[in-house]
C-alpha cells in the first residue's frame, strides 16, 4: 500500500533528521528562547525581506493550534472571523475557533477561494445592518494558500483581498499550512509578497517535511504584544522549542523548503496528466500538490487496492471525488506506480 491520502504520512526530510541528530546533545533553554530558534527567525525574516522590527516570528506545533492562537490574538470577544465555508477552521478543526469564543462567519467560495468583492460586501452588510449590535461583527479575514482544494490565489487576487481588508480596517490572516507548495507552484507570489499583503501568515512545516511545526509571521504591530503568553496559555509553546528552531533553520538553509514544495508539485503534475489522458475528470483544477478526481466506485476500488487515497465529497451517486495528495516525500517510483495503475483502469 502506497499512501497518497495526505502529505504527512512520512516522518521528516533526511536533512532535518540529520540536524536533529547533530544537535541532540546540545543543552538549550526551553520555550523557543534558544539559539536555533533565534537563527531560524533570522532566516525566515531574511526570506521574507523584513526586519526584526517589522516581523515577530513564532514557532508552533500544528495547524489547528496555530489558527486558534492567531485568531484569539486578533479578535475582541464580540468579533468573528470571515472564512470560506470550505476553510479548514470552518470545517475540520472540531470547532476550535468557536471553542475560543468566536464565530466563523461563512463566505461563499470558488474552489476554496474567496473573492475580494464578496469580502467587501459581507463586511459592509454586517456593519450596516440596523441590528449590527446583535450580529457578530467581522474582526479578521482568514484565507488559506493553497486552499483546502489545492487552488491558489493569484497575486492580483490576493492584492485585491488585502486592499479590501485594509480599507475595512480588518487584519488579513493567511493559513500557509501548505505554503511551500504554493511557493513551488506559482511564480507570481513570494514570501516577501505574503509579508507585504498579510497581517499574519504562517509557513507550514508539518505538511512540508518537518516532523511538525508552523512558523507564524506577525507583521501587524497590534497583534504582537502578549502573543507568547497566549501561546503558553493554549498549550502551543513547545518546552523543547529548539526542535522547532532546528527544523526551520534547516528548512531555510540552501532552499530546502522550496525544494520540498517542488518535489510534490512535480509529482502532482505528472499524475494530473495521467488522469487527463485516462479521461478521468478533475473536480477542479489545482496547480499544487492536491488533485481532486471524480471516479466511479469501480475505479476507486481498483486504485485503493494498492493506494491510500483521500475521500473528499461523496456525491451520493455512482461517483466519488477522491483526493490524491503528493508531498515532499513522494518518490518517482511511487508516482510511476500510481500512474501505471491509473492507466490500467
Amino acid at each position: 500500500m502506497i499512501r497518497f491520502d495526505c502529505d504527512y504520512t512520512e516522518g521528516c526530510h533526511p536533512r532535518i533528521l540529520e540536524a536533529l541528530t547533530r544537535t541532540n546533545a546540545e543543552q538549550h533553554p526551553g520555550y523557543g528562547t534558544d539559539a536555533h530558534c533565534a537563527r531560524a527567525r533570522a532566516l525566515i525574516r531574511e526570506a521574507c525581506a523584513v526586519s526584526d522590527r517589522d516581523a515577530d516570528v513564532h514557532f508552533l506545533v500544528g495547524g489547528t493550534q496555530t489558527n486558534a492562537t492567531v485568531i484569539a490574538a486578533v479578535l475582541r470577544p464580540w468579533e468573528g472571523v470571515l472564512s470560506a465555508t470550505s476553510g479548514h477552521i470552518a470545517v475540520h478543526e472540531t470547532g476550535a475557533i468557536e471553542s475560543g469564543g468566536h464565530k466563523v462567519l461563512p463566505l461563499p467560495h470558488t474552489a476554496g477561494k474567496l473573492a475580494a468583492e464578496d469580502v467587501r460586501a459581507a463586511v459592509a452588510c454586517l456593519r450596516a445592518d440596523p441590528n449590527a449590535e446583535h450580529i457578530v461583527q467581522p474582526g479578521v479575514v482568514y484565507v488559506s494558500q493553497p486552499t483546502e482544494y489545492g487552488t491558489l490565489y493569484t497575486r492580483a487576487e490576493l492584492e485585491a483581498i488585502s486592499a479590501v481588508c485594509r480599507a475595512a480596517g480588518l487584519p488579513l490572516f493567511l493559513d500557509g499550512a501548505r505554503l511551500g507548495y504554493a511557493l513551488a507552484a506559482a511564480d507570481d507570489l513570494t514570501l516577501p509578497d505574503y509579508a507585504r499583503l498579510c497581517d499574519i501568515f504562517y509557513i507550514g512545516g508539518t505538511k512540508l517535511g518537518c516532523l511538525f511545526g508552523e512558523a507564524v509571521v506577525v507583521m501587524n504591530d497590534a497583534v504582537k504584544p502578549g502573543f507568547r503568553n497566549l501561546m503558553k496559555q493554549r498549550g502551543a509553546m513547545l518546552a523543547k522549542g529548539r526542535l522547532l528552531g532546528v527544523q526551520f533553520e534547516t528548512m531555510f538553509t540552501d532552499g530546502l523548503y522550496l525544494q520540498c514544495g517542488r518535489n510534490a508539485v512535480a509529482a502532482a503534475r505528472r499524475i494530473r496528466e495521467a488522469l487527463l489522458q485516462a479521461g478521468l475528470p478533475l473536480a477542479f483544477e489545482s496547480p499544487t500538490n492536491q488533485l481532486f478526481v471524480t471516479l466511479t466506485r469501480a475505479q476507486s476500488a481498483a486504485l485503493e487496492r494498492s493506494f491510500a487515497l483521500g475521500h473528499w465529497d461523496a456525491t451520493g451517486g455512482e461517483t466519488d471525488v477522491l483526493r490524491i495528495c503528493t508531498s515532499w516525500a513522494t518518490t518517482p517510483e511511487q508516482t510511476d506506480a500510481l500512474i501505471a495503475a491509473i492507466r490500467a483502469l
Copy 2:
C-alpha cells in the same frame, strides 16, 4: 407614531403591574427561592400536566441569556447545536453560543422551520464522516416556536423532529420566546405536548406581556443538575427573583398568558386580511403575530410616516420585506389605524 415593529414596545400587562404593586413591600429571600416563584413553578407544571419530579422550572430574564444558558447546560465542549440558519441563536445574538464555546451547526429551513428529515440526515452525515473527530458533532437540536418568521410547526412536524432527536439520542430544545402566540394560533399543540415532545423548552414572558422573563421547563433529567449554578455563573439568576415569580404567577392565573397571545393573533389576522385585500403580497404565510409583507419603497415610506415597522430583508431591488408585529398590547384602535393606512396605499 404607532409601533408595530416588535412585540416588546410597551411595559407589561396591567394585571402584572398590579401584582408587582401589591407584592412590592413583601420581604422575600433572593434568587428565586421565594414563595411566588414556588407558586409560579407549580402553576406552570400544572399547565404542562407534569409533576415536580418530571420537570424543573427556572426563571431567567431574557431570551439570549436563556438560549446560551440552556445550550451550555446541555453540550459537552466538542459538541454543537443544530439550528436553522434563520434561528435566533444563529443570527441575532451576537455570537452568544460561540462565546460559550459552541458552534451553531446550520441547517436549511423553510420559512424558519426545520424538516425532521433534514435533521436526521445532518446528524447521520456528521456522525458517519470519516473525519468525524475533526468535525463538531451535534449535541442538541434547537427549534423556535413560533419561528423567527412567525411560522408554526404542526403537531405532526414537531413529533417527527422529536422522534428523530430521540432516535439519535439528541435533546430537543424549543425556544418559546413567543410561545404564547403559538398557543393562541394553533389548536393542535398545547403545553403538555411541548413538555412531552421536548427535552427543554421555555415559555417566553418578555414578548408576551411581562416586563421581562422566560420560564424554562427542563424535562430531561441529565440537564437538571447544576442548572442553577450555571444560571448564576452566566449572570442569569435575578437577585430579586420574586419579580419573575410574581409575573409568571399572574400569567398562569385565569388564563392571562393565553389571553395575551390571542389578542395579538386576532389583531394580526385582521391586518393580514387587509394586506391581502389591498393586493400586497405576503413574503410567507405566518399564522401568529408577525406578518411579513413585500412593499415598494413608496408604500413602506407611506406607512412609516405613522407606523414603526420592522425592516426584514432588503431585497436590494425596488421592494423590501417589512415585518408587522402585533402584541398582547395592540389595541383595536391601533389596528384600525394601520388597516386604514394600508387601504390608503
Copy 3:
C-alpha cells in the same frame, strides 16, 4: 419574620413603581435606545460632572452580569483581574470571570479593602517574574465600594490605588453594587470623584431600591468600542431597556438615590449603637449598611426566631459572625424591633 439578611428583600422604591406605572403604556424601541435611557444617561453624567464625550453609560440588569461583561471588555485573553480574595467576583459569582476565560488574581485585604502598595507590589512581581510569560498577567484592578464587608475606601486610599493603576497602565474598575450606601456614609468621595479616579465603575440599583439594574459608567476610551455588542452577546442587554431608563431616571431625580442610601445608613448606625451597648463585638467596623457581629449560638438562635440574618463566617467554634443588613426599605419600626431584640439578649 423581619428580614435583615440582605438589601434586596423588597421590590422597589414607591417612586420607581409610580414611574413604571406612569410610563407603562408608552411605546418605545428596545435595547436601551429609548428616550428614558437617554435621559437617565444625561442625569447620571450630570451627577458625575462629566460630558457625553467623557463617559459612556450603559444599563445592565445585575451585578454578576455587569462584572463579567466589564471585565471581558477590558481584558485580553492572557490577562487576569487583580481582586481581594474577598472580592465578590472571587467568591460569590460561581466562577463567572473564569467562565469568561480569565483568572482572578488574588490579593490580600484588610476588611475587604486592598492596599495600594499591595497592588503595586503584586503588579511589579508578576511582571518581573522570569517566567512572566507563563504567569497570568494583570490586566485590570477590581475594587468594590463599599466592600463586601461594608467597609469604605477613603478618598486618600482610592486616590493611591488609582495612582498605582495609572502608573502601571492598568484600568481601575470599581464595583458599586452598593455605591449609594458609600455615598451616604462618607463625605469625602462623590460621584465626580469616582468618575475621576476610576476607568469604569457602576452605580448599583438592585440593592438600592430599583427592581434591578446597574448603571455602568465607562471613562476609559479604550473600553468603549463594542461594549453594547458584548452586552448583547452576554445576555446583558434588556429587551425592554426602557425599564432601566425609567428606574435610573427616577433615582437621579430629586436626589432619590442618595436618599435611599441614607435611610439604610441611618438605620445601621442605630443598630450598631445597640450592639455596642449590648456588649456584642463587631467583627470589624463598617460604616455603611452592613454590620458584622459576633454572636454565640444561643444569641443568634434567639435573634433568628424573629429576624432573618445573614450567616457570614462560621468560626467553627461557639460563635458565629452574622451579617445584619439594612436597606433603602428598612423602616423605623423594623429597626426598633431589632434593637429591642438585641437589648433582650
Copy 4:
C-alpha cells in the same frame, strides 16, 4: 556552561532518535491511528496491568495542553479543579484552565503535596455552603507526582486522597509530567498503583527523554467519550501522531522509561549529598530529580558562572532558593563538575 536548570535541555534519548530514524520513511495514517501508537498503547496498558477495556490511552504533545484538555474533558461548566496553590496549573500555565472556563480552587500544601483531609474538608465546605450555588463547586482533584517541589506522595498518602475523592464522587487526576522520576525514586508506588488509584493520569515524556509527548491514561469511563474530539479541538492531536507512538513504544521497551528516571535520581542523590556535606541547607527534602537549596547571593553567583540553575523563590533577603534539576541526560561528568563546584564554595 552546564545546564541544571530544568530537565528538558537536551533533545531525546539516543534510542528514541534511533527509532525515529529507523521508522522515518514508513508511511502511516495521521492523528494517532497508526500501528506504532497502537503498539505503544498496548505496552503502556501492559505496564499498568490494565486491559483495553479498562483504559483509554492518548498521546498529547505537552503538559499544559494535557492538563487543559483533561480538565476540560472532566468538568461541567460550573465546576472547578481543586489544586495545591503550588500546582503547575495554578501558577505556571498562563491561566490555561481559566482560559477554558474553569476556576482553579486553591488548597494549602506541604512542600507541594495535598493532604487528604484538606481535600475532604474543602469539598465538604464548598458543598455545604448555604451559598453553594454561588460558589464554584469542585469537579476534579489535581495532584502532581512528583510535585513541583520534587516531593512524592507515599502510597498511603495517595490512597487516602483517592479514597476521599471516591467517597466524594470526584475524579482524581494525576499530573505525571515527571512520573518517571517518581517511579525511579520510590518503591511503594508502581504504574498499576497509579492506574488503580487515579481516574486519569499521565506518563510524561517531554521531561524524561522524549522529544516531547505525554501519555494520558483514562481509567474513568465517564471521561472517555469525545476525548479525541476534544484533543483535536484544542490543537492537541498531532498530525504525525506516529512520532508519539514511536517514542512511547521505545520508552516502554526494555525498561527505558524507568532507566531514564533512575539516571536522574542517582545524579540528584549524589548532588544532594554534596550539598549537605557542604552545609548548604535544602529548602525541603525532595527524593526525585529536583533539589531546592538555599544559597547566599555570593554562592549562587559563583555556581552560576559555570552552571545554569533555576531561580525558585526570591526570599527578598540575602539568600535565594535555587533549583538544581538533573535529568535522564545528566552525565556523571556533569554531576562531578557540579559537585566540585559545590565543594569549592
